[in-house]
Symmetry: C2
Subunit: 307 residues, 2 copies
Amino acid sequence: MSRESIFIAALRGLARDPAARDLIDDAAVLTVGGTALVLTHDMIVEGVHYLPADPPEDVAWKLVAVNLSDLAAKGARPIGVLLGYALGEDEWNLRFVAGLRDILAHYDVPLLGGDTVAGQMGTPRMLGLTAIGEAPAGGAPSRTGAQIDDICYVTGAIGAAGIGLAVALGERSGPASALAAYRRPVPRLAEGRVLAPHINAMMDVSDGLLIDAMRMAQASGIGLTIDLDAVPLAPACPDDQAGRIAAASAGDDYELLFAAPVDAMLPSFGDVAITAIGRFQAEEGFVLIDRDGPVELPTRLGYEHGA
Amino acid sequence: MSRESIFIAALRGLARDPAARDLIDDAAVLTVGGTALVLTHDMIVEGVHYLPADPPEDVAWKLVAVNLSDLAAKGARPIGVLLGYALGEDEWNLRFVAGLRDILAHYDVPLLGGDTVAGQMGTPRMLGLTAIGEAPAGGAPSRTGAQIDDICYVTGAIGAAGIGLAVALGERSGPASALAAYRRPVPRLAEGRVLAPHINAMMDVSDGLLIDAMRMAQASGIGLTIDLDAVPLAPACPDDQAGRIAAASAGDDYELLFAAPVDAMLPSFGDVAITAIGRFQAEEGFVLIDRDGPVELPTRLGYEHGA
């Protein structure tokens, strides 16, 4: 087991409350009074989740976006955030606040509080955010609810952020939209709220489409076959098997991945596609296919660090 | 202005929601459905809020305790926590979980979720926690409500953690109770809940009695005179003017500081004293006196970093 798995296995003993969802969902769902709250806390670390040279405005955007994306995956409406911030230089701090202002205004979410500590000079910056949302009336979907014969769907397109990271690293050129996808991901809040009543399980794609899809199947105790050819590729992703595998394991997409019955009447969104990419099955296991038949699973399906 | 003041002043523009309490209170108070929730997020940093050699069990205890103390100051009942954790070595991680288990069981609070990231080798560890509580029926007291002629009170005794820190640093000897006060502070949850309906303003003492009392007066827009001789000293604190000033500016006490009318019928607690230490006044300013008259304010009233 990895260091993280050992730690989380130990923590699970302290998370017996049903609200904790056994620490395997994207967020906790806590009922208070008559209201179900969705609570998530995600951190981002310089050099891991963003690059040292990324503009501080974009780092703030990303910190909030990755947390709102967890709310989106539970169909929740965001109602506030708390910030955990390690102070850096004044200019960086103030540019960070400007980015925070952008995204909080964009999604109409208030900053409620938090804490600041002195940053440690010369060490990678670490930032945390807690986001609080209100669950949809019918309850917050879990990632554990996928059923045998459900179709596996994904919103939008996959792979743009992976291209954007390579562009930011100077490894290749690419469209501005790819860099934006890496630095300013768009949480699918509206889509998550509309989808929630129609689906059996939902999560966001943060570590990579393949690893996250496998996690949904495992959490649901069933198997899943993904058709690589069906994965909706973002512009600039090479449309061959290697390119599709790269896109589907690159991570940072923040699209919604969900399971719905074959006969579900799914809503449609003007500018955001919904694409069927696979099917859940009784036999356990995670299988990849394309037009030519079974595809060997790549050694790396996505990021293992959790995000 | 300090780096932190500049940052927080900029953040205040994003915290216009009344739930944020202008970022000057210990916690946010958010009404959801019919329930008022109290939300706080505090971080602790190795070398700042705890010592590198402190046992990991105690670091976990302290991380939770400082957050529960903020809930106590709002009279709230804790209902869950989210952890933001930077992974270290397996042994440290598992001992941390053991300490977390201790304090969460002690206060019957579930772990709801959170995030882990890879810690950065050789850099000071940084840990965050979000605590969620339910506000008392009459509403959560603020630190801004002190009135002219209110008496300023503090629970328990002051200065033990300051002695404990010096003991932990090997600078002096002292009782085990002092070391425990530094490493395993006791949030005044029961006392906070009982006191809340009777008082005009309340906060916890984290950065130092003097600096925190001054902040309550400033936040309330009035003045305050503290009688140094009245400050309830913990065992082993030298009982002279220098010793009293040291105790009252050492911080990490996690007692409750509150303002109540002269004729308030205050509850009493068997083992936790309530001591009147001063009086709020119309004239702005923070004044220190003792039996001999005015005492010159020390240059340092407590920690400035926020906690």
